[in-house]
Every structure is written in C-alpha cells, then in structure tokens.
C-alpha cells in the first residue's frame, strides 16, 4: 500500500519463539501513515504477539528476530531506551481487559498525567488541564470530579476510554488497539469503536485494530490481515475480503458471523481448533481444518503471494472468485455491505 516513504511501520520476517517453540513464523506487514489496519484471526494466532514483540513488550524469555522499522529506524534488538522513547510517544497500545490494564492503586489522573509528563513535558496544572481535556475527549462525563478516583470506581467501558485517553497523551502516530472491545458488552463495544473511528479522524493517527470480530474490523479499518497459527494467510482491502474471501480460513471466519438480515440460518463454525504451536501440522497449518484441503496441503506450505487484484494470499486451493460472490454476499451483515459499498 502506497510508496515506501509513506510507510510508518514496517515489519519484516518478524519471528517469535517462546522457550524454543516458534509462535510467529515470519510476519511481513506495513502500516502506512494514518492508515487503519485490521488484524483478524482466532485467539492464539499471534495477532497480539506480533505487536507486543514489535514494541519489545514480551517477557525476556521470548526470542524475537527479524526487523521492525519505524520510519526506517530499526527497533528490533535496539536498546531499551530507544524502545521506551517509541512506546507511548510514537506507538501507543491499548489492551483487551481495560479494568486490569489500569493500575489499581494509583489515581486515574496521576496515570494520565504521568504519560503527559513523559512525552510532552507537561507538569502540575498544565498536565492536569490537558489530562482533563483528554478525559473529556474520550467521553468521561464529569472528568473534573473523577480525576482523583481509582480504576475500580469506573466501569469497564470507561476504563477503556481512560486507556485511550492515556494512549492519546503521547500524541502517538500509531495506536495499537489489541481487542479493545472484547471484554465489553455490545452497546459499549459500539461506543468504543465509534470513539476510535472519531479519534482517528480528528488526530490522523494510524490504527492497528486487532480483533476476531470481522464486523468491528470492517467498521474501523481499510485493510485487513488475516492471521492463522503465526502466519498471515490473506491480506487485502476490507472491500476485497468482505466481497470475496479467498482463503478457506477467511471464508470460514465469515461463515461464523451471525447474520442480522434475511432468514435465520445455522452458523457454520470452523471445525477443530487452532493448533498448538508446539505441534503444528506439517504443510499448511490450516489443512486439518480446511474444507478445500488437497493432498499436497499436508506436506507443502503455500507461500504468501500477490494476487491479480492486489491482495496477498497463501493457499494452494483458494475459494474461486465466482463462487464466493454468490455465496458470501448474502451472508454479510448489512452494515458490512454498507461499508464495502462506500
């Protein structure tokens, strides 16, 4: 996407191993300036690990190799001080469980002003004023009187708003939202998504949205990467993937979405579970669960190659284009079709 110079972050052949067990098998990924990229896949596919590794946030026992470049500057293997200056200031991250992601014994205001002091040198009243503005901006009602409260005195949705406020404090160029709505109930999920969309429009920061909710991804993102067992298996624009998912795994994810329009139909779950990284099947990791599996899939790993329409795909026997257009479109929820048509 775009020329190389407009790329904000480039991951090249990023690999992660825990105790010698490879969990990330060489991820190539770019995030453009101001772009919104979705990362989808079931739990345990390496979506979060990719970005935790990129920011050096994995525990010390994790072996990380490859390249992570921020505007051409290499982060992978760089000293701790370099990573610390990037975290929060250039790349901020919010997490899945907002209530336990905030420090329970420190006042909320202090946790936000801490980030302001760190990245913008604001202290005292200036920091307090700016923190109140950020709390206001993310939709915390009556911020002034709640500045000195603790995390347990806020609801889960409000905690995520506070996490976002804290992330915005460093005026980052990229916000990694790691399943930010998974722990929240449906109406709050929608509010947080709207907030993320609105903030991106206002600040122009790029967003990486990690989720297993394709509907949410379609609302927030322009481009989607589908990950399976530590590899990217399909990558394309939201429109491409929603109109015609080519990888059987992507297709499976769509078939598992409940539809809100048309007649009721039973959901089609993907059989089986994500393989344990310790015992990955030979060949394509998805082959044991794949409905379109070939004999060769069990022995040969298909490479991720560009397709005619610009998407990347790693499959020996992708879903034919003509077939998906008829099969998938009626199954997509209305709001997804809407966004695909925009």
């Amino acid at each position: 996407m775009g020329a190389a110079k407009s790329n904000l972050v480039e991951l090249r052949d990023l690999k992660v191993a825990f105790d010698g067990v490879q969990v990330l098998h060489g991820i190539d990924l770019t995030v453009g300036r101001g772009e919104a990229l979705g990362l989808v896949g079931e739990s345990g596919c390496g979506k979060s690990v990719t970005w935790l590794a990129a920011l050096g946030l994995l525990p010390g026992k994790a072996g990380v190799s490859g390249s992570v470049r921020l505007e051409g500057r290499e982060l992978c293997g760089s000293p701790r001080s370099t990573l610390e200056s990037v975290r929060g200031g250039r790349i901020a991250m919010i997490f899945q469980d907002p209530s336990s992601s905030l420090n329970p014994v420190l006042r909320i205001g202090r946790q936000i002003t801490e980030a302001l002091a760190l990245h913008r040198g604001l202290r005292g009243d200036a920091a307090r004023t700016e923190a109140l503005r950020l709390m206001d901006m993310v939709g915390i009602p009556d911020a002034r009187s709640r500045f000195d409260l603790y995390a347990h005195e806020f609801s889960g949705g409000q905690c995520q708003r506070l996490m976002i406020a804290m992330a915005l404090a460093g005026e980052p160029d990229l916000l990694i939202a790691d399943e930010p709505t998974t722990a929240l109930d449906a109406t709050i999920q929608a509010q947080i998504l709207d907030l993320l969309i609105q903030l991106r429009a206002e600040t122009g920061m790029a967003t990486v949205f990690i989720s297993h909710d394709l509907g949410a991804v379609s609302q927030v993102c322009e481009r989607v990467c589908v990950m399976y067992a530590g590899r990217i298996v399909e990558q394309g624009t939201v429109e491409q993937l929603f109109a015609a998912p080519r990888h059987p795994y992507t297709r499976g994810l769509f078939d598992a979405i409940p539809r809100i329009d048309g007649p009721r139909q039973p959901l089609v779950p993907i059989p089986g579970t994500v393989p344990n990284p310790k015992h990955l099947p030979a060949g394509c990791a998805f082959s044991p669960r794949c409905s379109r599996v070939l004999q060769s899939c069990h022995t040969e790993l298909p490479p991720l190659v560009p397709q005619g329409d610009g998407r990347l795909l790693a499959c020996a026997r992708p879903v034919p284009l003509a077939l998906v257009i008829h099969a998938a479109k009626p199954r997509t929820p209305a709001r997804i079709v809407e966004s695909a048509l925009q």
Binding site: L52, L57, E84, R87, A92, F95, S100, L106, E114, M166
Partner: protein, 308 residues
Amino acid sequence: MISFVLTRLLRAIITILAVVTFAFVVLRMSGDPAQVMLGPDVPQDVIDAFRKAWGLDQPVWVQYLAYLKSIFTGDFGVSMRDKASALDLVLERVPATLQLTIPALILKLVIGIPAGIYAALHRQSFADRGVILLAILGFTIPSFVMGLILVLVFSIILGVLPSGGQDTWVHGILPTITMSIGGIGILARFSRSAMIEVMGQPFIRTASAKGLKWRDVVWSHALPNAAVPIVTIVGFMVGSLIAGAVVVESIFSWPGIGRLLIVSVSNRDLAVVQCILLVIAATMVVSNLIVDLLYGWLDPRLRSRAAH
C-alpha cells in the same frame, strides 16, 4: 470507617480475652505452683497455707473471675517468687528484648525485601537461584541450631564475638543475627513471589507500553501493588517483637522477656506467665490492627470495600 475500627477493636479485645482464658486454664491444669515453689519435702500444712495465701484453695472459676476482675482494674497480680508486681517484672525486661528484636526486624526488612525484589526482577538468573537457596536455608534451619552454629564459628573457632550475656552492644550481635536469619528468608521469599505476581499483571504491561522507564515501572507501578502481601508478613514480625526472642534469649543468656517466660513457666509463677502472655497477645493484636489499617491505605479497593 469508624464502624470498621470499632469492629476491629472489639475483635481485638475478644482475642486477648481468649488468650488470657486459655493461659489461665492451661497453667492451672499443668502443675501445682505450691509443690514447685516449696519443693518436694514440705509438710502438708505449709502447702495449705501457701495455697490459701495465693487463693489457690478456691474453685478454679472463682479464681478466674477474681483474675478477670483484677486485670480489668489494671492489677496483673504479684509474682509468687519475687513478691513483686508481675507487670513491673515483665516491663523491666521489655527493653532488653527490644534491644534484640528491633535491630533484627530492621535487618529482616532491609535485607529480606530488597533481596526478594531483586530476585523477582532477575528471575531464573544466578542471583535469583542464590536468593531462593539462601532463603530456604534461612527459614528451615531452626534458630537454636543456627545460634549454635554461629557460636561455634564466631565465638569458639574465630573467637571474635561473645557467646552470651548482655554486657556491651557487641554481645547483641550474634543473637540479633540468629534471630533475623529466618525472617530474612521468609521476607525474601514473600517479596519475590509478590513481585513476580505483580510484574505479570496487565497494568505493568500498560505502564511499559506507555514508555515509562523500567525503573519507574518497578518503583511507581509494581512496588505499591506488591506492598500489600509484604506488609502482611511484616505485620506478623512486628507482632512477635516481644514473643519472638524466647529461644534465642535462652541460647545467648540474654535477660529479656523470653528468659523470664521460661523461668516463670518452670516455677509455675502464674501471675508472671499470664502477664507475659497478655503482653504478647496485646502486641500481636495491635500490630494486626495496624496492618488492617495499612491495607486500606495501600489498596484503595479494600478501602472502599471497608467503607460499605
């Protein structure tokens, strides 16, 4: 908050009452002070006179009520041996005991906690394994064995430190070290596991993701959270400032509460033993109360729970 303090106080009083009652009953069941005090070959009328003088001829429940009544009026009885006020006898021994237990407590805190935290932050390293090994050795070796080993090494073989007595501060070194080793081990283990637990929490990842320096993540985000479990253990240690020295005082012939307790128990000096147990129970209860209040100060979640 007021109701919280009041319930804690009521509970404290009940605890002390239970200790006092238990001590009273057990002491009277476990031997006759008249026999012990007067020796084996005393005529029966002397024994009877002794019992009558100390009220031991009364039924136990009458003695008990009389005892309760007197302690509520601040009268803790008279020593059968010294004929002096039991409370005075006990209180005059307190400074000697504190001379050992307070420096020992300080050693436990300044060595145990940093060692545990360092080990937690350098998990699986050589230092971590060393700390675990020493901590286990420290709290598994009983203090009487540890005391004898130290005497053997520093008094007998090296001849650099005295093995007993209370003449100078140098005499306090070996007993203080003996007393602190177990506590250092326990605190190191506890601080280590508390810190490891906290460092694995999501909010620590948040603090790192914010761009905070490692040092600030540890100091301002992890330590305040690890404080609660550590304070619990320190509370126990403060509570045993008086009681914790019994064995060590005997080994090093240190004239503190612990030695008084042992002498008084073997003499069946009822009032003194009861008074010591009361003082011990009171320090335990008070330190527990302080720990409970500290919890609320350290962890706002507990504070709001206590308020409801």
